[in-house]
Symmetry: C2
């Protein structure tokens, strides 16, 4: 006969409630107690019935983190921070990668596909506002949007000020004495908020510096991958009057752009300064190290988890817009004075 | 009254079975049909009852991928490949990061913590053989081990030949004319298979080349992060007789080691050759690009998913050891003849 919760409690000589807390991943259980209970669970081969528990409590203690691509370092680093923050509130996080598949995103948001049981969604994929409205009926799952969206009063939203972040990075490039400043990361459609906002911030900072915009200096990138940055930088460096500096709308784009410049024998930053946005660890170790805009990912993670936890407890709470701090981190790719 | 499967079928003018297939993520549904059904699901705000379905079929269609750290690029890239491969067999993948927490790993493997419903586990964390035996009673969840384990006839296991991979990379360094060849990635304990096997392969290749081992050239790394590679390279370069080449047991270690060498003004590869193991995308764009051992991650992902699918269908099938091919990819960090 299968072991029960009571058997485990008796075996470990603790209360049924303690066993239940351990099984639920409750944070206020001491490590020693958890080990004791997990030991008893293993010895008795006890398997809690998650279906029964979910029916009983209506809660799973699980959050879904939905990202477009888990192998993009920014999303991987964000995922790690969110897992850490969630753990502090007694939640576990399961990661789902949608690969830009709108049907998949729709299935998660509508609750149509719920092979996984979870209490709320932290949602990061690029979808337009109208797509989101269509995908997520108000009656559906508690939802907090991360990053790539605009606040519309309907959903909790945690992100940086994309416009200001791009403007600050551009202003830094101006301050290093460069005036031929290009950008990589525009997109042909204006539907997505991040490229549009970063592009506007870049243009605003140029304008403030009295530098007129040059359309050929605003390069598009279909995705924000290294290969897209490489290809866009090649197009910029092929111009009759190539730029002296490039602001990339993500660090990964900047990694590709730096490699493209190096492959032409250009010195960074002497011949070409490069800056990114994200502050992924890769850019701290690269040669040259990458000037970038730090997004305070731990802050974003903490706020996102605390908002979703509040929303699960009270689905009718008014939606909040949380703006995470950002800061330009100046490194070698814009300011080193000696060849690396 | 909530919409039912039948309501959705009637609304979309398709069979109940088709709706059920779409909801279950069945692969043999045309895109047009899936869109039609998902549209009807959204319009009717239909929410399938995953609890009822799981009770009915005993299957969830979900695999758990358990990795120690999702922000280590190799695991992120492996995760992406596994998600792609699983999708082809009609499975979805949820990723769980254990952060080297053995209690958490135990809870997943024993089935003690099953807030998520899944049919099988692809398990990658570093645990010793005895820990694994203790954590995973034979009656528990279908399990396929990835990478960091030794085949013991009990579990399906998909990995490269770690010994040969390290030997091949070392042999390449010997062939470039270097004889002072160090390694980074040993661990004080012999309990974990990967560092032990890679260390043995490194030593075997040196021996074959008639190069005696130098204990001070075998550096340890507690984790395989950039910072560990940086610190270990500093220790090696501080030696009275520093190495001319370093084999790092992961690409991330190599990224740290290359940066440490650059910070001392050393040229790579002229003053110091560096090689890694993993073939993460970062190493294709870094300056210099990184010589490494490619693990054929898509092969590993395909085999792992096909093994777990077979094991879910037949839990009593004999366990198999699957060795993935590997290949040394020679890039600038060991062979470039001009300064980068």
């Amino acid at each position: 006969m299968p072991a029960t919760l009571r058997d485990v409690a008796a075996h470990a000589n603790v209360s049924v409630r303690t066993v239940s807390n351990v099984v639920a991943g409750h944070p206020h259980v001491s490590d020693a107690m958890r080990r004791l209970v997990l030991g008893a669970i293993a010895e008795l081969d006890y398997r809690p019935n998650p279906v029964a528990r979910t029916l009983r409590t209506g809660r799973t203690g699980v959050l879904a983190l939905v990202v477009p691509e888990i192998d993009v370092p920014y999303f991987a680093e964000l995922a790690r921070e969110i897992i850490d923050a969630a753990s502090g509130l007694g939640y576990r996080v399961m990661i789902d990668q949608t690969g830009h598949d709108h049907d998949r995103e729709r299935a998660l948001l509508t609750g149509a596909d719920r092979t996984m049981l979870f209490d709320g969604i932290l949602f990061s994929p690029l979808v337009t506002r109208s797509e989101l409205l269509e995908m997520h009926p108000t009656t559906a799952m508690p939802l907090v949007l991360l990053g790539e969206h605009e606040f519309d009063g309907r959903y909790d939203h945690v992100a940086i000020d994309n416009h200001q972040a791009a403007a600050d990075a551009t202003q830094h490039l101006v301050q290093t004495g460069r005036s031929k400043i290009a950008a990589i990361g525009a997109q042909p459609t204006q539907a997505f908020a991040t490229p549009r906002q970063r592009g506007a911030g870049y243009l605003a900072a140029l304008d403030e510096a009295g530098i007129g915009p040059r359309p050929e200096y605003l390069e598009s990138a279909a995705r924000y991958h290294r290969a897209d940055g490489y290809a866009a930088a090649e197009r910029l460096l092929d111009l009759a009057d190539p730029p002296e500096a490039i602001l990339c709308f993500s660090d990964l784009l900047a990694m590709g752009a730096m490699r493209a410049a190096a492959d032409r024998g250009l010195r960074i930053p002497e011949d070409l300064a490069v800056a990114g946005i994200d502050d992924i660890e890769e850019g701290r170790y690269s040669r040259p190290s990458l000037t970038t805009v730090s997004l305070d990912t731990p802050f974003i993670a903490r706020e996102a988890v605390s908002r979703i936890a509040a929303r699960i407890d009270d689905p009718t709470a008014p939606a909040a817009e949380i703006v995470a701090p950002h800061a330009v981190l100046v490194r070698e790719s814009t300011t080193a004075s000696t060849p690396l």
